[in-house]
Symmetry: C2
Subunit: 360 residues, 2 copies
């Protein structure tokens, strides 16, 4: 993997040169990993044209030396912003890029104070995120592995959906099965929602028991080899009433339309629109209360946003979720989610669980 | 619980009044829960003298109505900072407090732009965190429950430490056992470090197998009823060499000294110093590369910091970890950690696992 970190830093340096900057300050953990291999949860990378310095606290010294080869490691002796500021002052750099979305008002002030006067501060949002949004084939392979793992766990877990089981028991089993298959953990807090709780798109598992004749939403993802997956299926325990089947058909069709729309060159808003138009045809669009999807990779939510009005275009290497849903407060909700990698020609659906309505 | 949220909001309003502010903007999820009961991972509370408004996106509408009683719920139709800004403009408030550590440079700019001119912006860091740092008896009871749960899991897991088992298998078992006992999840990524990997204070579990005659560091915590616990024990598989026993004795003694020092009225730096002095007596202080502890509650790391030079004084209700360690790169590390609640008289150690050196 060493080589890929070097080539990513080189691409970043070329971007900096294009923009007339000497350095870029990077603090988001996923960006630190992407550029150096460092997996600590805190630190700052000062990316410069010729080299890069990773500034970290004492907890991470050994880890940084092991993981971030080819990068100079510096131990912070104060807060992180102050240490970065002092480093910039000592390095006498003039034009400094930073991401205003990644530094708090307080951190930025401390950084500037420690860096001293005479520096030009330039905002550069999402530069590394932009590189990350376009996955190379080895990254897509990692996400595929994470997606297969989550798919297999989801299929196995369906057997445990018997009346009387509790939401948090199913969530515990899901995360345990992920770990047993080598995941470093869940990519986000696993959602297990029974009955009317399925109407909450972000329901946290509770002690609620599964009844007879109820909806079940399972939304889970695994981190495997640093990359995330994210899959949702909605099933019914017992025989579903016609109204639920109708909703399911609508979501199934909306999801398929959005998956089909996800191709290189298409605007993200168009993919969202494809799902939304189908639901509007069923007069269910007002129950679709979130966006159609999001990029996924080192983080479970990353660029691009697959939402209304998003002009950003998909490219080969874009890897996104497609997850429309319908949520009827007090009654229940349905969501179907897959992970899709955009290829030079067409796309590949990375998650592998049947999408037909399952009645258990 | 409803009543406690109301009384917390009232205490916050009194603070605002003292400081001559009309509103405070709150965005940290733990603060949102503390003041309203809302458990969504995004949103903003605008705390005003007479009322409070919770601004959230469509994913959380139903959940917010269920959880945040007595608070007016508003659906954001744009980004969160823009929605908060528009709300402030419509409410015609003049003096607005915000936390510079909780808003990014970009968020704050968007917020100010949407709020329009004529407003006075006042920085107020850590106001809610200050309230949270002093736990009431029902909060200490929650942390005690979370600490007991983690303690029981740790004791049970020791049986699984046999040569050949992998770090991530033990981590999976730990988190599964937590969930089975009702935890909503781990309070942080569980640390399981074998052999020389125990020298990494923040080691992530890998596929490394446990050998014969090796150190094992287990650092785990559970979230139960929204509150966190955090416990570490270091054991030896086989009979430990004298050097390891010597290190263990030093850490054990340092930890006991810091626990004894943790009393109402004592400066946090003093508690850290108590541990550090013992290790200096053993000439091991240079291997103690982090601070002695941190507050814990709704978050696993919160106020106060138990670190060198911290002048903040412990109060009845302060709940902290005490976790000195010794880390010898390439060889191994030892850490012992307990959770301690400071009481009006003395303190209570909430975690319950023997601290004597265990050789398995």
């Amino acid at each position: 993997m060493n080589k890929c970190f070097i080539s990513r830093r080189r691409r970043l340096c070329n971007l900096l040169q294009e923009k007339g900057l000497e350095v870029l300050i990077i603090t988001q953990p996923a960006n630190l990993y992407y550029l150096t291999g460092f997996t600590g949860e805190a630190g700052a990378l000062v990316a410069m044209r010729a080299e890069a310095a990773l500034i970290i606290d004492g907890r991470f010294t050994v880890q940084a030396r092991e993981e971030a080869r080819g990068v100079s490691i510096r131990l912070q002796k104060s807060t992180l912003p102050e240490a970065v500021g002092r480093f910039l002052r000592a390095a006498r750099v003039k034009r400094v890029g930073y991401d205003p979305a990644a530094l708090s008002v307080a951190q930025f002030r401390e950084l500037r104070r420690a860096a001293g006067g005479g520096r030009v501060w330039r905002e550069l949002s999402g530069l590394v995120e932009g590189l990350r949004a376009q996955k190379d084939p080895s990254e897509i392979a990692q996400i595929r592995n994470a997606a297969r793992l989550a798919s297999n766990v989801l299929i196995d877990i369906l057997k445990l959906l018997k009346p009387g089981v509790r939401e948090f028991e199913i969530a515990a089993e899901i995360e345990y099965q992920m770990r047993r298959r080598g995941a470093s953990g869940p990519a986000f807090q696993t959602i297990v929602a029974f009955g009317e709780r399925s109407a909450l798109p972000h329901a946290r598992p509770t002690g609620r028991k599964l009844g007879k004749k109820e909806l079940v939403v399972l939304d889970l993802g695994a981190i495997l080899g640093h990359y995330c997956s994210d899959i949702t299926r909605t099933v019914f325990v017992g025989r579903a009433p016609e109204r639920i089947r109708h909703w399911y058909r609508a979501v199934r069709e909306a999801q398929a339309a959005a998956v089909a729309a996800a191709r290189a060159g298409v605007e993200c808003g168009e993919v969202d629109g494809a799902a939304r138009r189908v639901l509007a045809g069923y007069r269910l669009d007002r129950y679709f209360v979130h966006s159609t999807g999001h990029g996924l990779g080192l983080e479970v939510h990353e660029e691009p946003r697959v939402a209304q009005g998003q002009k950003q275009r998909l490219k080969p290497g874009s890897t996104i979720t497609i997850e429309p849903g319908v949520y009827v407060p007090g009654t229940g909700g349905i969501r179907i989610e897959d992970d899709v990698a955009v290829l030079p020609e067409g796309s590949e659906v990375l998650t592998r669980v049947p999408r037909d309505f399952i009645e258990l």
